[in-house]
């Protein structure tokens, strides 16, 4: 490129008057339009994301009447709402149900699905890719199509209205198997070789080497599975039939379907339901990001 051409194209190299001409009649103002639009859009998106949480928190401190009226600031009804909730719902029992199902489901799903993901990636077999493709294909079957056969299965096994009815169908989670298989591609196979030479059996390699090395993948999967099972609504609604088995999500639903719903109470119940997933997310956040980027460096 000739000097003249370079001079023409580089505003910083040009004379001040020429620089202004290059920027156009509105000069520096034009440079600010792009970022301004960007920040406006981002602010709107942030508002849309955060407002429901704010509204939920505000709602816990207001009466049902104020919430319906659209009061958007904190009130003094928090303890009243909490008292009403405790009066209407056996909170410890419902929380126990939710935690029991979510924790057992998460542990079992992670164990079974990570084992499957590990096996799919590590062991070669002529049917491997076909079986895996068949598994992935099952992701396309909507839950509505599985609901009735699953219910019949659970009923014939005598599991209706038990924790097992909720937990068992979640354990082999195809998405989590897929996720672990993808993550295992980054697991150094030489570590497995080294462990074999060190005398470890395959299950010991999985427990003592694979699991610790892939901990960020496990963290990310924990957040995903825990949130899914904690928030699970439709299937528990179908198979859990007595009040003493209900989970928090089902409880909120039943509060909402009352003849005159108390929105203050519903908001308190909603906050209590949201807290565990938030706490887990913040506890595992650093590992979650690593897990999403790839576990092994």
């Amino acid at each position: 490129m000739s000097d003249v051409a370079a001079h023409r194209l580089d505003p910083e190299a040009a004379e001040p008057s020429a620089r202004a001409a290059l920027r156009g009649p509105d000069g520096p103002g034009r440079d600010m339009i792009g970022p301004a639009v960007k920040y406006i859009v981002l602010s709107l998106a942030a508002f849309v994301s955060v407002f429901p949480f704010f509204w939920m928190l505000v709602g816990t401190t207001n009466s049902s009447y104020d919430i319906v009226r659209g009061k958007a600031w904190f009130g003094d009804q928090l303890l009243v709402n909490l008292g009403n909730l405790i009066e209407q719902v056996d909170l410890p029992r419902v929380l126990f149900n939710s935690f029991y199902i979510a924790i057992i489901s998460t542990v079992a799903t992670l164990l079974v699905s990570s084992l499957a993901g590990y096996a799919f990636e590590i062991f070669r077999h002529k049917w491997r890719e076909r079986i895996f493709a068949a598994l992935l294909l099952m992701l396309s079957i909507p839950f509505a199509a599985l609901m009735v056969p699953l219910f019949v299965m659970m009923a014939s096994a005598g599991l209706i209205n038990t924790y097992s009815a909720i937990i068992l169908p979640t354990i082999a989670n195809i998405f989590i198997i897929f996720y672990f298989r993808q993550a295992t591609k980054a697991f150094p196979h030489e570590l497995r070789d080294a462990a074999k030479i060190d005398g470890l059996k395959e299950w010991q390699i999985f427990l003592r080497v694979y699991m610790p090395v892939m901990r960020s993948t496990y963290a990310a999967a924990t957040i995903i599975v825990f949130t899914l099972t904690w928030n699970n609504y439709l299937w528990p609604l179908i198979v859990l039939q007595t009040n003493d088995m209900k989970t928090m999500v089902l409880t909120i639903s039943s509060l909402n379907s009352a003849y005159t719903p108390d929105f203050g109470v519903i908001m308190v119940a909603t906050v209590i339901t949201t807290l565990p997933t938030l706490i887990i997310f913040f506890l595992l956040q650093r590992l979650f990001v690593q897990g999403m980027l790839g576990s092994v460096k």
């Binding site: 030489e190 070789d193 080294a194 074999k196 030479i197 005398g199």
Partner: protein, 356 residues
């Protein structure tokens, strides 16, 4: 304690694809053997078969006097050092080094004593509580070697252990491995594609191609007396020059050099009149003196200080690599006379086999 290794007709197939095609090899106790060969020749697969990390499809493997074909990797009396170090990232250096002993049921004080001894040999004393991510490449490789040492194996297996290190560190580690070998008096099987590593470390080099052994010998045997064109071209850097030739009238006519003739190297059995052969001359065998001479035009000059490599050719010929010692002042486009003594040259037949 070190043991020999014997491979008898060793084979490995993946389905219909045969990657190791009948390898016979004897490795003496305390010997340092290096497998070299181009990518995909099967050298790492062969090492992994010895280690027990790849199943053996055919043939027999003996370590010491025991047949090891079906023995678990951890019971073969071997230890392996990997290219990527393969250190457990969630363990400290001490835990990494003691891991195998812990699984072998060795008592804690004994593990500590052995780990400390290996750390002392390798100068790792100050790094024992660090994790692998806090170590440099050289330190990681030393830990990997330390992990192998504590097992007191009968045979050490090294799979391109220095490939991930920078040039300077590679030289240091090479010297360290040589020192370890003389100190531990152990049998070592070492895979590399780096000729310098092979030439400097090995008691015996095994050159592999397409899953077969091309030649086995000491580094200088292979350098001075290769069995075929492949070994002659593979061993030595820069590689040997190959000049197509034809025997006519008791001398060699160089096909690409305008029919110029050079005397035959001394041979036990001379080729037949008219036979197509290949004349091999190493770059350093071109000298100022010599009964054979080639007129060539200089294309590129590489001055390395102590050595100068000239890449030159005659119109229509392949490029010749000529080592001119410390000679300087040659420029691109200069005409030079490359002389050599025919007794330094090697002759190969049409099949690439050496004519001696």
């Amino acid at each position: 304690m070190s043991a020999g290794v014997r491979l008898e007709g060793l084979r490995k197939s993946y389905g219909a694809v045969e990657v190791i095609r009948g390898v016979d090899l004897d490795i003496e106790p305390q010997e340092f053997v290096v497998f070299v060969g181009p990518s995909g020749c099967g050298k790492s697969t062969l090492l992994r078969m010895i280690a027990g990390l790849e199943e053996i499809t055919g043939g027999d493997l003996y370590i010491g006097e025991r047949r090891m074909n079906d023995t678990d990797a951890s019971r073969r009396g071997i230890a392996m050092v990997f290219q990527s170090y393969a250190l457990y990232p969630h363990m400290t250096v001490r835990e990494n080094m003691g891991f195998a002993l812990k699984y072998a049921g060795v008592k804690k004080p004994e593990i500590k004593a052995q780990v400390d001894e290996a750390a002392r040999i390798l100068g790792l004393d100050q790094l024992m509580d660090r994790r692998p991510k806090d170590l440099s490449g050289g330190q990681r490789q030393r830990v990997a070697i330390g992990r192998a040492i504590v097992r007191h194996p009968e045979v050490f297996l090294f799979d391109e252990p220095l490939s991930n290190l920078d040039a300077e560190l590679r030289v240091q580690m090479r010297i360290e491995i040589a020192r370890l070998h003389s100190e531990l008096k152990s049998t070592i099987v070492y895979v590399t594609h780096d000729q310098v590593e092979a030439m400097t470390l090995a008691d015996k080099i095994v050159v592999l191609r397409d899953g077969r052994i091309e030649q086995v010998g000491t580094p200088l045997d292979l350098y001075d007396d290769p069995d075929n064109l492949f070994v002659a071209g593979f061993i030595g850097s820069p590689k040997m020059n190959f000049l197509p030739a034809e025997l006519s009238g008791g001398a060699l006519t160089l096909v690409e050099h305008g029919g110029q003739t050079v005397p035959l190297p001394p041979l036990g059995r001379a080729p037949q009149e008219g036979e197509r052969v290949t004349l091999g001359i190493r770059p350093e065998h071109f000298r100022k003196e010599g009964s054979a001479a080639l007129e060539v035009d200089v294309e590129i000059v590489e001055n390395l200080g102590g050595e100068t490599y000239v890449y030159a050719r005659q119109a229509g010929s392949d490029v010749l690599t000529i080592a001119t010692g410390g000679a300087r002042g040659l420029r691109q486009g200069d005409r030079m006379t490359a002389r050599f003594d025919p007794s330094d040259a090697l002759l190969f037949n049409r099949e690439g086999l050496r004519i001696r």
